[in-house]
Symmetry: C2
């Protein structure tokens, strides 16, 4: 069926099921057929009709009040404030232009959700659909600004989604069917992840990251191979999917928009927010360090304008022959494994992305059960012979042990962290250890964007594991709000912290020590034996972190543009097991318990020989055809 | 160095070595620096200077008389006719605009070549460089028309070659170096050969063939995957190389020119001529059968206009980072293996193309010694378990045996052949057998373009093996001129031949019986037990030839648009060993004796599992990394 056929078919079914439907418009918004009606009953109470039509058409349907009968946002906000009972603790109201929803943040949401009368009252009087959510326990500037930004580009988004809807219903061209996977970056290496899935009908890019090497001799190594004809021009891409916010996956997505891509970015809402945060930080830092910057913040905004946020386990048409479902990958907030269903029952590809197959303090383990999967792509960051083997709880023990030993000799602990993921885990471990008297009560200074990243976690409780979600939302015992955590705001504060003789813990970015405030602390702490530097995250080849971790006795850094030699006398330790990546046993366990078993496995995201060696191990252990592509190689899977 | 740098450097060396050089112009023509001079001495006698400069610059140099001092072609022709002694037997004179040569065809070339005075006389009086060649023993319309055509597009060619020269001297872009091979057709199958070699700087296509299936349900299977982004737009290609004239390699080269390619085609002169012949025949036959034709003869002419003919073993820059050398592949007239030297000493790829590693009645065995080779691509047409194992001489015995048995029972022998290659071999075997009284003297009727193809062989004696060349050119005992061979010119003749009761041999195209005059003979001969059908060439999957060869008892053909069921009672035989392809033992022997040994082997051009199985055999037998790509796959070799 074509675009128009779907719309008139939808209208016809409404006419049959609910003749007096007062429908004013039927249109596409991305993959969803949106029906506008002036009949209050239809949009406020008859979800059953929309569900039935969605099933018949195999398309998503949303029924919304006709804008002409809706209250303007300001009047609606006033009215809602009157309707909500005081004891519910109203914190915020904001409007979702994409969905016609009024999101109402309450301290006690159950007071309203238990009371259907309040809900119906709001809907019938404002014509906005109320969505009641618990007010987040922390304030996130990022989340707030994102909402405002999306509201400001409401009109452009509506047009974009309309055009996308037309594209999505274009019939598939007849002809031979084939499916190819092209490695554009992050294969047989860690960094600049980019994988192209092409079919005879569609071109889909999964991730578009960067390697954060600041090597002027090899600038081309920072980007995936984006200049090859398979992906040029970018306007030939039909869809881009982002697995998670880390810059080695998200870093160059805005570049696609700068150079002509104008289509959708599919990802989770938290990944959207975190990616924008990290990308904006990247260009700020690069600018301040005088590095060449390949895009500007307006290109990040362009990306956000085109982002379609999906929930885990929600299936969406992304091209006429491909359906996408995102699954929890357990790696960082909002991280997803990508399931692509190609053709009608023809073929299925899962790209698990960066993943953790173990329950962590923050997340549930990665999902490894899918409706179907023929080709499966798995990372191998820690699949090497000598990589860490510890579990999460052992990692916590190691960290508290280092803290205790350091404090006993009067020193402080410096922990380089990525703002996102590792910092929150380390915060949880420290807070818990203090509470249980395993380590002394201490100040934990947070540098860079750690606090803001933490607030984003709190804004998306449905992406956290159940225990933490309940602790934050239900028990009102939010560990992130403990007063041991101190945000460092100014340079002066930082200097005072460095000068003070108290034993303390400092969490500072960047995680691989290639820039950021961690270097300031390191310069002052490194020469003194009493201090400790603890690595809790992956240190890539070629980074300062990796160099120090592997036993360097001194390093030369720049201070106000001049080279300074720094002797390293502080204790350098590694708390293995904090990683957001599965270790080798976990990767193997993922495959062993995976359902269904894939016919073919592609191994990526590993340094040196890890991809290749792990593909051999999979072959011999499971008898599954496994290979590891080199960047620039293409394999045909169907 | 840039384009202008090379030219001024060339001029400077001339000035140093030969100050009074009277040079009027220095320019590029394709890969050659052409120097025009008014000094007769310089262009007629001082080849040493050109050679020295070529060595210093590592560029090809040609010194030509300034056009203003050259005689016009008509006057020059008259003058040359006067100068050449009568006893030399002047047959033809034609002028090569590309090279400034006057080609003089003589029955007794040695009379002139032994006489330097005549040569110098011609050069100094006409200012054309005389090139003395033996007059071909047969008249080829194709070769003659080709010369005329190339002369008619002289000006366009000069401009094209000039622009190509500029492109060839463009400096290589800095950046990471990589080399990829993409399978676009003819991998894990026979037909539609097309392989793309891309480097960070160049895009080179080797072959662009078709599968001659006439299946309206799967029209896309006729072409390689030419619509994928790796090769789109065609104008992004830097060079196209053609290994040989068979349509499964050459058939869609004109399509490239139709859809925007405007660059050079590198191949041998006989391949150029044969390809044009076969392509023109293809569109004629397709047209007469009412098939859709994807290009017209003007696109073949466009191809010819852009063809740069190379000799075997001659090295040419084809892009700023790639040099090409063609080597004899022993398969058909002019067939070549492709040697690509990439970067300066960086990497070497050999694509052996269709090849025969055995001396045949026509050609020397394929060359398997190269200056260097890291990646090697080999065909596997007959690499299967059950494929033929016979040598050429055994094949001849089988054929003469079938002829004798058929003639004894009063029947005739029908041999479906490709016009090019197999027919000439079969003619040689039959002529030799008649001469030596192994078979009775008989008429051998030649249908289709066989005679013309044979004449083209005679026009390029330097591409034949030494024995045949001498037999044709020196001993004056040209087997192709034997009066047993009768060209069939008209439909009436054909009918008379079919009606006559004499025992005879008929060689008719098409070689796989998918069209052509062979079908007319087959329809009339098939029901009668006394006749024989002898396959001497490869019968691809899905062709009528393969169907009959594998034992069909009857077939349904169309006669004037109506279906007719034909019972097959004639004897169906296969004379194995006539193939222009190496058998398995020959392929293995090629690799075993290859120098140097490649690091990696890619297997292509084989039906069913042959490519895959042969790659496994190579791995186990030689310990060389061997794989077979699927169409649409890309491997990175550097
Ligand atoms: Zn990650
Ligand atoms: Zn990653
Ligand atoms: Zn061939
Ligand atoms: Zn072939
Ligand atoms: Zn042209």
């Amino acid at each position: 069926m074509s675009f128009r056929d779907y719309l008139s078919e939808a209208k016809a079914i409404f006419d049959r099921l609910y003749p007096d439907n007062k429908i004013s418009e039927v249109d596409y918004e991305g993959p969803t057929i949106v029906v506008y009606t002036k009949d209050e009953e239809l949009f406020s109470k008859r979800d059953d009709i929309a569900r039935q039509i969605a099933q018949e058409l195999r398309r998503r349907i949303a029924v919304r009040p006709d804008p002409s009968i809706m209250l303007d946002e300001d009047t609606a906000e006033k009215l809602i404030k009157e309707i909500i009972p005081d004891e519910a603790g109203l914190k915020d109201i904001y409007f979702e232009p994409d969905t016609g929803e009024a999101v109402i943040e309450l301290d006690e949401p159950s007071i309203v959700t238990r009371n259907q009368e309040v809900m119906v009252n709001i809907k019938s009087r404002t014509k906005w659909s109320p969505r009641i959510v618990r007010a987040p326990p922390m304030y996130s500037r990022t989340v707030k600004e994102m909402r405002e930004f999306l509201r400001s580009v409401k009109k452009e988004r509506k047009e974009f989604l309309h055009n996308l809807g037309i594209k999505l219903t274009t019939p598939v061209m007849p002809g031979e069917t084939w499916i190819r996977i092209t490695a554009l970056g992050g294969h047989r290496e860690v960094g600049r992840s980019a994988t192209l899935i092409s079919t005879n009908n569609s071109k889909i890019l999964v991730d578009c990251g960067m390697i954060n090497v600041n090597d002027p001799d090899h600038p081309w190594e920072e980007a995936p191979y984006l200049y090859v004809p398979e992906i040029q021009p970018f306007s030939s891409l039909d869809a881009v999917i982002l697995t998670h916010a880390h810059l080695d996956h998200s870093g160059l997505v805005p570049l696609l928009y700068k150079y002509g891509y104008d289509g959708p970015l599919y990802t989770t809402a938290p990944t959207r927010d975190l990616a924008a945060l990290l990308q904006n930080d990247y260009i700020k830092v690069a600018h301040s360090e005088g590095h060449k910057i390949s895009y500007e913040s307006k290109h990040i905004r362009e990306m956000l304008k085109h982002t379609i946020a999906l929930k885990y386990n929600e299936t969406t048409d992304i091209t006429p022959d491909v359906r996408l479902t995102l699954y929890n990958a357990g790696h960082i907030l909002g991280s997803a494994s990508v399931h692509l269903h190609i053709g009608d029952g023809l073929y299925n590809i899962v790209l698990s992305g960066d993943q953790k197959f173990e329950k962590t303090w923050l997340f549930n383990p990665a999902v490894n059960r899918f409706p179907r999967v023929e080709t499966f792509m798995i990372e191998s960051t820690y699949a090497g012979r000598d990589d860490y083997t510890y579990t999460r709880s052992r990692a916590g023990e190691i960290l508290t042990d280092v803290i205790n030993r350091t404090f006993e000799r009067g020193g402080s602990v410096l922990i380089p962290v990525f703002a996102v993921g590792r910092s929150q885990e380390v915060m949880l471990v420290i807070e818990d250890a203090v509470k249980r008297n395993i380590i002394p009560r201490t100040n934990v200074y947070l540098e860079g964007m750690i606090m803001e990243a933490t607030a984003i976690h709190a804004a998306y409780p449905e992406y956290l594991n159940k225990d933490l979600r309940e602790q934050i939302m239900v028990k009102r015992d939010n560990p992130f709000l403990s007063d041991i955590f101190k945000q460092v705001e100014t340079k002066k504060q930082r200097e005072e912290i460095m000068d003070s003789s108290e034993s303390k813990i400092i969490l500072a970015t960047a995680g691989m020590m290639n820039g950021g405030p961690v270097l300031d602390y390191f310069k002052s702490m490194a020469p003194l034996r009493e201090h400790s530097l603890v690595f809790v995250g992956y240190q890539a080849d070629g980074t300062l972190g990796r160099y120090i971790q592997s036993g360097a006795k001194n390093v030369t850094l720049t201070d106000n543009g001049k080279p300074v030699k720094i002797d390293i006398n502080m204790s350098v330790e590694t708390a293995e097991g904090f990683s957001g990546h599965s270790n080798k046993a976990q990767l193997l366990n993922y495959i062993a318990t995976m359902q269904p078993k894939p016919q073919r496995i592609l191994v990526n995201h590993g340094d040196g020989d890890k991809c290749y060696e792990f593909s051999r191990l999979i072959r011999s252990k499971f008898g599954i055809d496994a290979i590891s592509l080199k960047n620039l190689e293409t394999v045909r899977v169907y």
